[in-house]
């Protein structure tokens, strides 16, 4: 399974990618939404995108809207991973087309549990 991790913090990208790789994902990283779209435009379409909210150039909400307006990317699951924890923000992200929402700070178990809920735990992580 493939995952695209989009966060303007390199440290956070490494943490999230490390968790996903530990579960068996192949990952790629992007520093903001526009970079994330650039990755998708190469034809590398992931099963999952983990997306921060507050980023320069293109924020997470704009990325979600851009992905959802492209029918070719309909199968991609989007999980917001962000410190934006206000209820109204969560509702906005879900309304825009995100499937799940993880609030920073999080634990590796929290990510794993969300992926299990989404049916996106790789086989090797289930065993």
């Amino acid at each position: 399974m493939r995952a695209l991790v989009i966060d303007d913090s390199r440290a956070m990208r490494r943490i999230v990618s490390g968790i996903l790789e530990g579960l068996g994902y192949e990952t790629r990283q992007a520093g903001h939404g526009r970079e994330g779209l650039d990755v998708l435009e190469t034809g590398w379409v992931p099963d999952l995108a983990c997306v921060d909210w507050n980023m320069p150039v293109m924020d997470g909400l704009q990325f979600v809207s851009a992905v959802r307006s492209n029918p070719a990317l309909r199968s991609m699951t989007i999980m917001m991973v962000t410190s934006e924890s206000e209820h109204t923000q969560i509702v906005r992200a879900l309304a825009a087309g995100a499937h799940e929402y993880v609030i920073k700070p999080f634990t590796a178990d929290a990510i794993r549990d969300k992926l299990a809920l989404l049916g996106l735990l790789p086989q090797e992580a289930v065993l």
């Binding site: 913090s9 320069p56 934006e84 206000e86 700070p105 634990t107």
Partner: protein, 170 residues
């Protein structure tokens, strides 16, 4: 139509909350503890004790704009910020840390702490991207909620401080 000036509108505009009316030190400390355990490491705790003054300080902060406007500022020594960066990056930490690595990791901690402080405040607010450098100036000594903590014996302070000067006294 005659409008009667009761002074209500002016009184409303002449008041604004200070941070100590909105959040307390225990909440800020709890937010920081949770961030530390998640980001820095499960065994990493912040001890609620004031430490020695920081000799070579470095701050990271995010701005909150809303019903209350100000900054959430983390300050520690530069070497401690480097240690925090290594703890955050774990096995991905480069042998030689660049300033950029420290700014990125220390800024992300401010982002996580600041985001959760924002969520604890009433009303809807915006959050800036993190910044790193010399701490923003304290504008109003009454509009500050500060906690002093120790991490691995080194001072880490978290200051939730208003961006606006005090209102003139009437």
């Amino acid at each position: 139509m005659t409008t009667i000036d009761t002074g209500e509108r002016r009184r409303g505009a002449d008041t604004r909350p200070v941070i100590t009316e909105l959040i307390d030190e225990a909440t800020v400390e709890a937010i920081a503890q949770e961030a530390w355990i998640s980001l820095v490491g499960e065994d990493e705790v912040l001890v609620p004790l004031p430490g020695e003054p920081v000799a070579d300080p470095l701050s990271s902060w995010v701005d909150v704009v809303g019903p209350w406007t100000g900054s959430v500022v983390l300050t520690t020594g530069r070497r401690t910020a480097e240690e925090l960066t290594r703890a955050l990056l774990r096995e991905h930490s480069p042998e030689v840390l660049e300033d950029e690595d420290v700014a990125d990791a220390f800024g992300e901690i401010a982002n996580v702490v600041g985001g959760n402080v924002k969520a604890a405040l009433p009303g809807s607010s915006g959050l800036s991207l993190p910044d790193v450098g010399d701490a923003p100036a304290l504008r109003n000594p009454e509009d500050v909620c500060r906690v002093d903590l120790l991490w691995r014996g080194e001072t880490v302070s978290i200051s939730v401080q208003g961006a606006l000067p005090p209102l003139p006294a009437h």
